[in-house]
Symmetry: D4
Subunit: 253 residues, 8 copies
Amino acid sequence: MTSNKELRDLLDEVARGDLDVTAAHRRLMDALRAAPYEDLGFARVDHHRSLRQGFPEVVLGLGKTPAQIAGIAAEIAGRGSSLLVTRASTTAFDAVRQKLPAVTYYEEASIISLRQQDVAPGRGTIVVAAAGTSDLSVAEEAACTAELMGNEVVRLYDVGVAGLHRILGEQARLAAARVVIVVAGMEGALPSVVSGLISAPVIAVPTSVGYGASFGGIAALLGMLNSCSSGVSVVNIDNGFGAGNIASLINHL
Amino acid sequence: MTSNKELRDLLDEVARGDLDVTAAHRRLMDALRAAPYEDLGFARVDHHRSLRQGFPEVVLGLGKTPAQIAGIAAEIAGRGSSLLVTRASTTAFDAVRQKLPAVTYYEEASIISLRQQDVAPGRGTIVVAAAGTSDLSVAEEAACTAELMGNEVVRLYDVGVAGLHRILGEQARLAAARVVIVVAGMEGALPSVVSGLISAPVIAVPTSVGYGASFGGIAALLGMLNSCSSGVSVVNIDNGFGAGNIASLINHL
Amino acid sequence: MTSNKELRDLLDEVARGDLDVTAAHRRLMDALRAAPYEDLGFARVDHHRSLRQGFPEVVLGLGKTPAQIAGIAAEIAGRGSSLLVTRASTTAFDAVRQKLPAVTYYEEASIISLRQQDVAPGRGTIVVAAAGTSDLSVAEEAACTAELMGNEVVRLYDVGVAGLHRILGEQARLAAARVVIVVAGMEGALPSVVSGLISAPVIAVPTSVGYGASFGGIAALLGMLNSCSSGVSVVNIDNGFGAGNIASLINHL
Amino acid sequence: MTSNKELRDLLDEVARGDLDVTAAHRRLMDALRAAPYEDLGFARVDHHRSLRQGFPEVVLGLGKTPAQIAGIAAEIAGRGSSLLVTRASTTAFDAVRQKLPAVTYYEEASIISLRQQDVAPGRGTIVVAAAGTSDLSVAEEAACTAELMGNEVVRLYDVGVAGLHRILGEQARLAAARVVIVVAGMEGALPSVVSGLISAPVIAVPTSVGYGASFGGIAALLGMLNSCSSGVSVVNIDNGFGAGNIASLINHL
Amino acid sequence: MTSNKELRDLLDEVARGDLDVTAAHRRLMDALRAAPYEDLGFARVDHHRSLRQGFPEVVLGLGKTPAQIAGIAAEIAGRGSSLLVTRASTTAFDAVRQKLPAVTYYEEASIISLRQQDVAPGRGTIVVAAAGTSDLSVAEEAACTAELMGNEVVRLYDVGVAGLHRILGEQARLAAARVVIVVAGMEGALPSVVSGLISAPVIAVPTSVGYGASFGGIAALLGMLNSCSSGVSVVNIDNGFGAGNIASLINHL
Amino acid sequence: MTSNKELRDLLDEVARGDLDVTAAHRRLMDALRAAPYEDLGFARVDHHRSLRQGFPEVVLGLGKTPAQIAGIAAEIAGRGSSLLVTRASTTAFDAVRQKLPAVTYYEEASIISLRQQDVAPGRGTIVVAAAGTSDLSVAEEAACTAELMGNEVVRLYDVGVAGLHRILGEQARLAAARVVIVVAGMEGALPSVVSGLISAPVIAVPTSVGYGASFGGIAALLGMLNSCSSGVSVVNIDNGFGAGNIASLINHL
Amino acid sequence: MTSNKELRDLLDEVARGDLDVTAAHRRLMDALRAAPYEDLGFARVDHHRSLRQGFPEVVLGLGKTPAQIAGIAAEIAGRGSSLLVTRASTTAFDAVRQKLPAVTYYEEASIISLRQQDVAPGRGTIVVAAAGTSDLSVAEEAACTAELMGNEVVRLYDVGVAGLHRILGEQARLAAARVVIVVAGMEGALPSVVSGLISAPVIAVPTSVGYGASFGGIAALLGMLNSCSSGVSVVNIDNGFGAGNIASLINHL
Amino acid sequence: MTSNKELRDLLDEVARGDLDVTAAHRRLMDALRAAPYEDLGFARVDHHRSLRQGFPEVVLGLGKTPAQIAGIAAEIAGRGSSLLVTRASTTAFDAVRQKLPAVTYYEEASIISLRQQDVAPGRGTIVVAAAGTSDLSVAEEAACTAELMGNEVVRLYDVGVAGLHRILGEQARLAAARVVIVVAGMEGALPSVVSGLISAPVIAVPTSVGYGASFGGIAALLGMLNSCSSGVSVVNIDNGFGAGNIASLINHL
């Protein structure tokens, strides 16, 4: 009862006398109450997410036990939806593999995935640029997320601003991108520089890479929020998944 | 000398003997040195921005004197580029109008603008949703920016989460948008709620609206960065312009 | 069409043939879309708040123009609802009085109010205790709010912990309260002390009173959040209204 | 000598000559000095707490050794009072069980408890709503506390705002509650949404769930303090016990 | 009825039959309830402070209206107590002078004072050392407070650590002090240096002098709290009064 | 050459011809350069501290290796000075005991000590009051420090403000103290309450006890710095040693 | 008596009998006590600074009254030293000009100066680069300071990273500098980029230019402290003077 | 093709007909695109750094795996460049030694190094002063860095301001330095004191040494940024490498 047509059909049945009022009333009330999710007690798995947001519900592994993750994963994959678990340990992977032997583990990205038939391809390429070698795990979380959501991804790693020629030498690939994700820790200056070179939107991901006054990524976060290049929007510290997801939303427009 | 073709033509001339080596050398060196900006002493106006980023250089009025703003504005408009000055006071408007009588002032948005022939239309609509009446000036900065950059804008104001039926009642218009800008102060919860309802990317703008522990917008900013909805990216506190610009970049893809 | 009964009646009409399917369909769709608020452009006045939350929508004056406040106030009062505007300047009061001559202004509390017939009396008394003379305006915001919402209020002012005998001398009145609001700046220690003496819930309001390392009320806020007395919950810095409202909700249980 | 009557009786005895002045003086002085607690050296166990605050002294296990916890627990239970130890490790549970074999351990809540005859039943139901699966341990601390203090508790878990239909589908149970505890990490938006739907007071508990700019719960804490719904008061990050206790105080009014 | 003797006398009267039980009961109850303060509505003036803490109640002018200050001042002075009002504007001084023509105003210290016969002399000298010229108003608040409380004060101003010979040249006067107050803004290094040179306790006062990363005195406050010299304790930013008062307490031991 | 007399004697020798100018010059220069400390390479042990500050140099164990601590300890004790090492692990104790078998270890206080003949007795008693059982290690650091520096110490533990009768029952012992150290975590309210009851100076020690918004002791620290009782000065979070040392300095005046 | 030679001469006189021991003793003691500064009461003017640090004492105008500034300025200039007053208002300039008619005021830099014969020329050029037009006043404070201290200064303004070609076009002038000062607000990325291009040391000056999450320059400060280019050191927010001074110290090496 | 001469030669060849236009065009385009770095996939090793910045690329070991470090190290050393790896664990050292047996490990400094023929000697001495024994590892990182870059280094350790005679006794060595690095934790006061004594530039390094309100080095960092001595610039907390590098840059001027 989630479409106009179903509602009209019901009313037609009532009008024709094919459906008595009490039954119609109950069906209407049921439809209004219907929960499009499965309640596992500790979690409510959202089966309408793909309709509503273009990709099935993604599981944030952080703070969940391997058993909880495996339970949710089985529920999602069991309905034929693609599976994507982020911040997943190898232990969680083992637990999921027990239930879903076909899953893949992307170690550098800490992602568990099972690709099914429900993913539409993106329209252009997404560049993931990372300032330093230490930013790779976050960059890989972004890149794998975007790939698993159907996008073609180009990786440009270790192109930080201390040696400007490295990013300047990649201008062609940057210019060809439909969206650019820029991952950087420390002072987080790379998104401003990249955004100044291109006309595509830039999603900036601050990382907790650094020490001392980097304050676990605050310095990079503030740098990106204050970017003097106006094409930069920002996600949470180390949130590679979020950046990959947003870039994919844009690339599917 | 900024294209392949110009370079090849020069080499042809040298090969043909139409151009002697000394002159060719000087022309090559000049081209490499050529600064695509006008140096006003206190500012360097960037005339290649439109080529590089799709819209002429935008002037941030904050921290500049009316005379400086008027000088930069005249330089930009004089080259036939559209003009957009943000955070502009009425005094700055008066100074600009002296030089450019055709400019318009959007008071609620604090924007000075002069539309010329160089703006391409966006592809879909951009929704600008604001949580409360106090967020209007930031929302208007975003909305006016997006409109001046060629986009169709739908405004949904005073739809904060304390009365959820207000935003739920606008689901149709939200679902029709290609990008959604959500402006909110206080706890900044609206972007999460909106993003959960749609599949378009959400640009969240925290505002400094609030008091006490809102800390001038920090509470809203942190709320948005930690959104449990993964389609949300964030710009600086009160940065309506940035949100409008990014939304426009996406809507021109 | 917001009750079970209205829905059943409609279905009965359809079953009886008194209502054709197209009209029934339209009425059902309309009901689902019906917005229980008035859209003033800059604000959406919520007329169902009283049903949903026990008191009509309250207007936060902060960040709204006098004209906006007056417009919203007229809309609320015009429906017969009681009016409560907080953080209201005398200028806002003048603007409201133009439209609603019967309104009252509580200067120390910065509250504009118009009491109508829709307020139910609370069940017991609410004590508002304030640590120092400088906390009075916040304390008055709490006390006036609670009174205007139908509660009997007892004020105990200047009873801070530096002279413990002052609060110890008021134990009888504290013990008689159904809820206690405690307002304090500086180190914010009073709520812990009061809560240790009684069994009623304590709503703590940190104020921005202090200087230096009080950081505009952060010291008091943190003190209250870390109270070693477990009966203390906390609202935002200077949020006398919130405390008064919550105390009233509890006192109406 | 803690009541009017005892005092008058003493004076009567003196007047009748049944009690000499020196003895009367000593008894009066003793009464004024009497410490209603047991001094264990490292802790002073408060035996009047139940009279003063409606529930015996609760032990915060954090920062105490298992031996200290066991000593305090034995002292409390030995007087016939109900026992409640929060933030208790399994090691602490083992130590307490040595002395009090009848105690129960609630593992997810990290609570040790021994229910005796001194707990009065609450008047209505308390709902504990949690935004995500990772918030469960804090939610359970709140729920167990409330139950052990004599209240009926309804649990609504994994109802965060990213999928609004989950909380909207529970409106009936929310509306039936006398108090609602809302537990959430990340952006902490759920209390605002819940409070906007009901007229009962909401006790909000921010959790340290999240990463990056959640700053160990600061983002959620600030979000809740700045709630645009005025029925929300807040306790410390991860303070499930405090929320359960306050909800119980209210539910016993 | 605040001493042993009064209590015994009462019991004797009852034993002798000179006082009936009802009257004795009432007097005992009255004594227990007696408030040793005057309730002005907006303030409770504490007349026992001098007995309890060695100096009459001091009035913090900050956040009080001139009328409130004058009212409290008259109440204090009217009982023969010395008057000390800190953070007092000239307007407050004018209001107090209306009621108490004999008061003095220390402009640099922003102190209003009226010395009466109730101040005991301190035992040694108190040195007040200030790092820079900009710290003078805070230093004067400390120095005037100490003087008005009966202490001899030596001022050493502009002796900051950038020119170490200035403080090294004053070692004799430092060594002769019983307590030393050190006032400094910016990096707040002076207390560590001074404390390393002497054996007297050092009370450090951070000031809000500075700009940028001094954050209104936070840098100096943190510097002082982390002093590598272990004889340094600290008061709030700009709290010259507190430092003067504590130094006086020590100097009266 | 550190006294007037030595200088005059040298000049006399020169005048008498008993000392030639070159030798006199060298001796004067040597005296000006003489370092009153032993350079161990990694540390410079200060042998004049006792003269300058009343107690030999104290060793902060934190951040030093056991070997470094043992080396410094041997150097200090070898000169006949009393030894005091704070923040010392049992491993450090073992290393020191190898070189100085007579040392004592105070486990709860994490202090290594060797008392020699160079400590003068303090004049009165020092009270160390602690709010909760979890504050004991910091309180013991303060109490042991004060005792080892020659003072009589009275301990009042678990007297926090949530049960006010506990501290009120100890007023006699508080009133008898010459200095009071108050140790508290969480909201840090105890120093204000204690200081309001007595005329002795209060040294407040915030502890890192707490969780969530206690931020490792920041809440307690801010509470104490903003104390509404003006007799309170503050030391660093968990700095029991500093408080004990300052209290001893005052008690030796 | 501040040099070896003076000391030896004195000893020679004593040895020759030209100076008696008492007089020699007094002269030695006087020399040791001699204060190389003038005590104005509110300030101690340091006349040895030029010998010790290469430039006479500089006056920070912030927080000093015009009269105080004029008094200190007269004292400095009266001894023949060059005068440099920073953060000076026009009012302060007027006060100084009364006493020293020859002084100059640099309005954009807020500097008062009087150049005398005591300034040595620097060895190379100092580049002052500023990211945006709004950073000019801080950049001018740095540039004027360096010029007044004897250095040749090259200004490169409005060369922020959003348009990278602007700074890349100035590589020749950057490469020719002996020291480079980089002034930037917002994300403060320019110093990293500049430092990556050259081998000279970079002094970075964060400015308070920006809004929202720039937090008055904190974002820029953190960005610079976390620079991925290792040739960058940082001064306080808006501290143009400090940068100019340090650059001058380096350029005089 | 990176010099004028190469460009002219090419043009001459074209003019002479020795080079056809297509080949010339390709060579010009190649030269413009040439990347002066080696792309290892996870890192881009910069072989032009030595030319551009005077020392080969330095490797920050933090956040890189031993294998990554060894790979980068081999690449650098293989080209004949000196190797410097900071923040290197012994495990990383073992991995590098496998590939480059000649490398040295400086344990206290956590530095791996291989000196080759490409380092020019500095001009004067660099002093590294450290306040306390706990600051040694950071001080050694600075000192080793400076030595490996060709500078003579003088170490002055444990010269903190609590015992001023220690640093005053080293004035001769300080005065002889061309640059001074000052390393300090806690309140970070030493740089101000040192800078006040000398005319050389001071590079201040805050360390994370301390506890409580040192906040991992924030207190020291803020103290140094607010230094009242104007010759102090600051690097990140614990950034000994940065300070050593900058000091070396200055010492090579």
